[in-house]
């Protein structure tokens, strides 16, 4: 730094004081920052759905009363969570991690953002629901890319594409693409047990101005359909598919 004497010392002290006063976490800048906020899904599209014989057989056997983990307040996968039409999601970017909160089932996700970090070495992305796997993120330009692995075998979707299953070989890549008050989350799913080729689902989001997440507070006794049956047992129906 140029300058000598008292003016230089004062300037240096002022700069140091300013650095101390700045918040510890720095949020994303520029176009990346457009990902931050509360979003509501405004349309989805699934492409390249090509089932293996095992995948087709599993889908044919699907019985939502027994196979949907939502009946026990368990989110099957992020694909399932994002297919839910009205509960919004919230993205908050920090210097080295992303927080993604999903109102549906109160899913709170944390994704470390670090070049070179493999998903298999990352912690469980939602500690409350370890079956949702491990996720690691990195930037490709202004797109946040999240790779996930260590997903547990079970139901992949019960809403947008009901009856699809996944094995423990499932790997996913989610791309969060900013575009002003719009965002696309493009999910590519690779599972050679159930799908002949990678499956892609695109979620189109719109930003909710002044949006706020509410608590979902799912109650297992009320999440199923037993109330439709006067003679239903008091306990939930036995789950053939229990990812937890």
């Amino acid at each position: 730094m140029r300058g000598t004497g008292s003016s230089g010392l004062i300037g240096a002290c002022a700069a140091a004081a300013l650095l101390v006063a700045l918040p510890v976490t720095a949020h994303a800048q520029g176009k990346r920052a457009e990902l931050e906020g509360v979003w509501i899904v405004a349309g989805t599209r699934t492409e390249n759905l090509k089932l293996t014989p095992e995948g087709a057989a599993a889908r044919a056997r699907y019985d939502h009363l027994h196979d949907d983990p939502a009946m026990r307040c368990i989110p099957a996968t992020f694909k399932r969570v994002m297919h839910t039409p009205s509960p919004p999601i919230e993205v908050t970017l920090h210097e080295d991690y992303a927080e993604i909160d999903y109102e549906f089932m109160d899913v709170h996700r944390r994704v470390p953002i670090k070049n070179g970090l493999a998903a298999k070495d990352a912690p469980y992305t939602v500690p409350q629901f370890p079956h949702l796997g491990r996720s690691a993120g990195h930037w490709e330009g202004d797109t946040l890319v999240i790779e996930s692995t260590d997903l547990k075998a079970g139901l992949l979707d019960s809403l947008g594409d009901p009856g699809l299953w996944q094995s423990d070989q499932m790997q996913t890549v989610e791309r969060f693409v900013p575009n002003g008050n719009r965002m696309q989350v493009i999910v590519r799913m690779t599972d050679p047990v159930h799908f002949l080729e990678p499956l892609t689902t695109t979620f189109n989001y719109l930003k909710l101005p002044d949006g706020q997440l509410l608590t979902w507070d799912c109650v297992p006794e009320e999440a199923g359909y037993n109330r439709f049956n006067e003679n239903a047992p008091k306990q939930p129906l036995p789950l053939r598919n229990n990812p937890q």
Binding site: I40, V41, A42, H64, A70, P85, S86, P87, E103, S158, L159, P162, L206, L208, P209, D210, G211, L214, W216, D217, C218, V219, E222, A223, Y225, R227, F228, N229
Partner: protein
């Protein structure tokens, strides 16, 4: 002006999302949306929960016997965002429920309700298009 536009956009988005509830997997499985019925009774249970809020109401038959009906709705959070006035419902209130009959006896998907003071409400807080007219 900008904040008013933003609020209007928010309302439209929430209403659109609420409308998509009809495509939810549980609705066609449990309810016949090609038909419409109307029941009147007294609220005995109110549960504003997710994913499906629901009531139980006691309906008095013409012969004087009472039977319990289950009234199903969408997610409580969705209705809250649409401005549905949950505080206007209390156990003991007499209400009319109009909607799709369930595939099981004495169940109904609420598409419109009429309060004791005559107020008409829909879960989306916007006018609805009635289903097939075979109101009972």
């Amino acid at each position: 002006m900008h904040s008013n536009v933003a609020r209007l956009m928010l309302v439209m988005l929430v209403l659109a999302a609420a409308g998509r509830m009809s495509a939810h997997h549980s609705v066609p499985v449990n309810f016949d949306q090609t038909r419409e019925i109307s029941i009147e009774g007294v609220l005995t249970q109110i549960l504003w929960v997710n994913p499906h809020a629901h009531f139980r109401i006691d309906v008095t038959n013409p012969d004087g016997t009472k039977v319990e009906w289950l009234v199903e709705m969408g997610a409580s959070n969705t209705m809250k965002r649409a401005g549905f006035p949950m505080d206007r419902f209390a156990v003991g209130d007499r209400i009319t429920v109009i909607g799709a009959p369930g595939r099981r006896d004495r169940t109904i998907l609420l598409e419109e309700t009429v309060l004791k003071d005559g107020t008409h409400l829909t879960p989306t807080m916007r006018p609805r298009t009635p289903n097939n007219r075979d109101a009972q």
